[in-house]
């Protein structure tokens, strides 16, 4: 796909899907889209928020520089939940992104724009960002490949910070090989991000076709024991594909995995409450016109600029860090997080990979969960553990529900195991080939 074809598809489909917030017509190279919390000098960066209205970054994110150097063309910036806080892209100040398989449903989130753009063939690849599943969950809902690399694998210089001990830039593509190619471009140490790792950048495409004979897959028992319906049947089918290939597939145990969402909503919100303190109306973005004093300016600018979900999370995070509650909430969450890390390390003693479905359900209807924050949070129940532990994980299309909505298998590997992850995912993709199916919305457009 070239830039002209990509722009043409965006022009045709975006009015229906709302996947892009900004499009750049003069880009040159292989098209790629970028989530709008990754800063660019030639387009605004909104983070899906009113508070950053009019903001244009004075510098490019490191991933942007690396993509351009490798001949990729940034064709546009994609929609997201405000500051990447959400699981449906409904918390964007610019309206929800719609799922290309059924436009009455969400695309997932927070990288919903990136996932919908790839699923609808508007671009062959897109960058997203991950804090608790924000690439894998929308990739699952939209039937595309979504990777969260190891914490520190990709530079975050220029990624607007949400939760700094969890954030990592991720990749959405149609196929595993394309995903491995993009990781090869953006991975590696960056002096501008001291949390980026010095670990050698691997040959990520080398084993995509190597098969999985002799590899050991563990099925996380505590995560899958309550699965039901289509998700259960589809997951069992995926295990059969792996078993038939000569891989071992056995029960694994990660006893604390069920606590991931509880840990996540303390740790992520605590860090977010600190990171988002910078949006105060002083240096950039929205400043309230009605403030008479600097104190009023902070309250009014943030009150007017932030949406309801961002405020809710800042409130929870501020609470968890406040005097009298710090040990009981933040300290407790970090201690259980350490335990979760130990449980994963023990499981990886026996297995090369751990498996769960990517999501506990298919894409839900727009509006179905906006009034119930906790039920929205539980969308990330299978994805958040990898962020808390720092390991890489990939979401790979695994078929369709009875109503024709995408389902997805999640494969997790030990730290810096991306090459092996592409091997396992590449095998599964080759055996099943679900990526070839076109979403309803593109088929209709192509027929017109």
């Amino acid at each position: 796909m070239n830039v002209a074809e990509s722009l043409d598809a965006i022009h045709r489909l975006n009015p229906k899907l709302n996947a892009f917030l900004n499009v750049k017509a003069d880009a040159v190279g292989i098209p790629i889209a970028v989530k709008d919390n990754i800063v660019t000098t030639d387009m605004p960066t909104t983070c899906g928020s009113r508070i950053l209205r009019g903001f244009v970054s004075p510098y490019d994110a490191t991933v942007i520089t690396r993509l351009r150097r490798a001949g990729r063309a940034i064709v546009g910036k994609t929609n997201l939940d405000e500051f990447a806080m959400g699981s449906s892209t409904e918390h964007s100040a610019f309206g929800p992104t719609r799922n290309p398989w059924d436009t009455s449903r969400v695309a997932g989130g927070s990288s919903g724009g990136s996932a919908a753009a790839v699923a609808a063939r508007m671009v062959p690849a897109a960058l997203g960002s991950e804090t608790g599943g924000s690439v894998r969950q929308p990739a699952a809902f939209c039937g595309v490949v979504g990777l969260k690399p190891t914490y520190g694998r990709v530079s975050r210089s220029g990624l607007v910070a949400f939760a700094s001990s969890l954030d990592q830039i991720g990749i959405v593509t149609k196929t595993v090989r394309e995903c491995a190619e993009v990781l090869g471009i953006i991975a590696g140490h960056d002096p501008l991000d001291s949390t980026s790792s010095n670990e050698k950048v691997d040959e990520y495409t080398a084993d995509v076709d190597a098969g999985v004979k002799g590899l050991r897959f563990g099925v996380v028992r505590e995560a899958v024991e309550r699965l039901e319906g289509d998700v259960r049947a589809n997951f069992d089918d995926a295990l059969r594909v792996l078993r038939a290939s000569g891989a071992t597939v056995e029960d694994a145990s990660v006893p604390t995995i069920g606590y991931a969402i509880a840990i996540y909503y303390i740790v992520a919100n605590a860090e977010a409450s600190a990171n988002l303190a910078r949006f105060d109306g002083v240096r950039y973005g929205h400043r309230s016109a009605r403030a008479k004093t600097v104190h009023e300016m902070y309250f009014a600018s943030r009150g007017e600029g932030f949406g309801a979900e961002v405020k809710r999370r800042i409130m929870l995070g501020t609470f968890a860090l406040s005097s009298g509650y710090y040990d009981a909430y933040y300290g407790r969450a970090q201690a259980v997080r350490a335990r979760l890390r130990e449980d994963f390390a023990a499981a990886f003693q026996r297995f090369d990979f751990l498996l769960t479905p990517t999501t506990p359900e298919v894409a839900f209807k727009i509006g179905a969960k906006t009034e119930d924050p906790l039920s929205m949070y539980l969308s990330d129940i299978f994805t958040a553990p990898a962020n808390l532990v720092g390991i890489p994980a990939i979401a790979i299309p695994s078929g369709f529900s009875r109503e024709g909505l995408p389902l997805s298998l999640q494969i997790m590997a030990p730290h810096f195991g991306e090459r092996a992850l592409f091997r396992a995912a590449g095998f599964f993709e080759g055996e099943t080939g679900y990526w070839r199916q076109m979403p309803t919305e593109c088929r209709m457009q192509n027929a017109e």
């Binding site: 002096p191 509880a262 240096r283 008479k292 929870l316 609470f319 890390r341």
Partner: protein, 90 residues
């Protein structure tokens, strides 16, 4: 954990967020529900392992920063190379 409206107001003050009474009431109820879910962390034994590596630090040397004009372009109010804000002290 039950969050009252007064508790929510205290947290909002700390967080520099403005809410009206109705919004505070709603937030207090939502936070109570979410924290009740989070309270399940009390039932599990944590770990004291702190072996996760600290972030490596870089040499503290001066490096080129962002050009002042580029900063000015995004400023809500700017004069003579400075951000302008409303009165700080009465």
């Amino acid at each position: 954990m039950k969050i009252t409206r007064d508790e929510a107001r205290r947290i909002a003050e700390l967080a520099h967020l403005e809410f009206d009474d109705a919004a505070l009431e709603r937030l207090a109820a939502e936070m109570t529900k979410i924290l009740t879910y989070i309270d399940q962390l009390r039932e599990v034994e944590g770990s004291t392992d702190k072996s996760v590596g600290a972030t490596p630090l870089r040499e503290d040397v001066a490096r080129p920063g962002i050009a002042r004009e580029a900063v000015e372009r995004n400023a809500p109010s700017w004069r003579d190379g400075h951000f302008v804000v409303p009165k700080v002290i009465e």
